[in-house]
Symmetry: C2
Subunit: 191 residues, 2 copies
């Protein structure tokens, strides 16, 4: 829980009393490697904060191929906003790549907390707008950069993911095959 405490204190002004209240309504989830936090067809009803570990969100296309949508490590939020808002089954999967610890709040409880603690609501809105900006930027990068540029960009934008996630998943995040990414990396190493 300390990870979350540090996180929230860095972001917004929340009193100890409020933090205790937030804590009270939370529950902890532990995931082993390869365990899923969310599977396609389920409905996602939580706010979830990564306390420890590494996860990825992915989606399977009509050919059965998995495409990594995002990664998450300590201090990141995970979940599927679409299913959360619509309250309909998700098309995404969330899988732990390393043993992970997640803190969860039920949608209803989190809404209650946001009403009680305006700073929490602000934080939530900020998060949302930042992820919109990030995904629009990603579309631009995805359309304007070569595979090599994308990889370099990924490394500098997310050094933590680049360090901890296996290469073939980074490849599926960037939209290239693992072989291509492997070759790109070799060429880069030779320089």
């Amino acid at each position: 829980m300390d990870v979350f405490r540090n996180y929230i204190n860095e972001k917004v002004a929340v009193s100890e009393t409020e933090l205790d209240r937030i804590k009270t309504l939370s529950s902890a989830v532990t995931l082993r490697r390869k365990e899923h936090l969310l599977k396609e067809g389920e409905t996602w009803k939580y706010r979830a904060f990564v306390n420890k570990g590494l996860l990825r969100t992915y989606r399977t296309d009509e050919n059965g191929q998995e495409h990594t949508i995002s990664f998450a490590v300590e201090n990141w939020w995970v979940g599927d906003g679409e299913s959360y808002i619509s309250e309909k089954p998700t098309v995404y999967n969330i899988e732990a790549l390393d043993p992970s610890e997640i803190i969860c709040w039920k949608k209803q409880d989190f809404n209650m907390l946001m009403d009680e603690i305006p700073a929490l609501k602000e934080m939530s809105e900020l998060l949302m707008s930042r992820s919109l900006i990030a995904s629009q930027n990603r579309i631009f990068l995805s359309n304007s950069q070569t595979a090599e540029d994308k990889y370099n960009n990924f490394i500098s934008a997310f050094p933590e993911f680049a360090k901890r996630a296996p290469l073939h998943l980074v490849a599926s995040y960037l939209g290239v095959t693992r072989e291509t990414l492997s070759r790109i990396r070799r060429q880069f190493a030779q320089k």
Copy 2:
């Protein structure tokens, strides 16, 4: 203004008095073909609704190539959320592809309206979450589909854009060259 009236009445319950109030704080902008609503380096300070016309948002990469980020026609909102929130210069450009009419509200005025009219705030939040969902979906499609699939998908998702926007701009939206898109289209026609 009637276009906007119809739009808002379809979306949320807003009284005539409220609509009048919304109208009072709005201003109309007329754009000729090729005129810009926003240029890189400027700061975007408005909510803007397209009453009539066709526009595109694009961004120029380091090689000077333009990449179309989105289109907008009647009943769509345009603008740059990033610059709007951060109040910093934008990296985007918004250009009218046809003569267009835009209704604008200053950020401050729109905030005021959202405080006065909760339904308007709800609408705004809904819009935002929907565009987040849309852009995440676009990332998935962009990574999982071939150029041909992307084009077919674009046509069925946005028939209006496909009909009215020139092909080379659709190509820059999809992240392929105009030549490639032209060939894809020919192959498709032969089937």
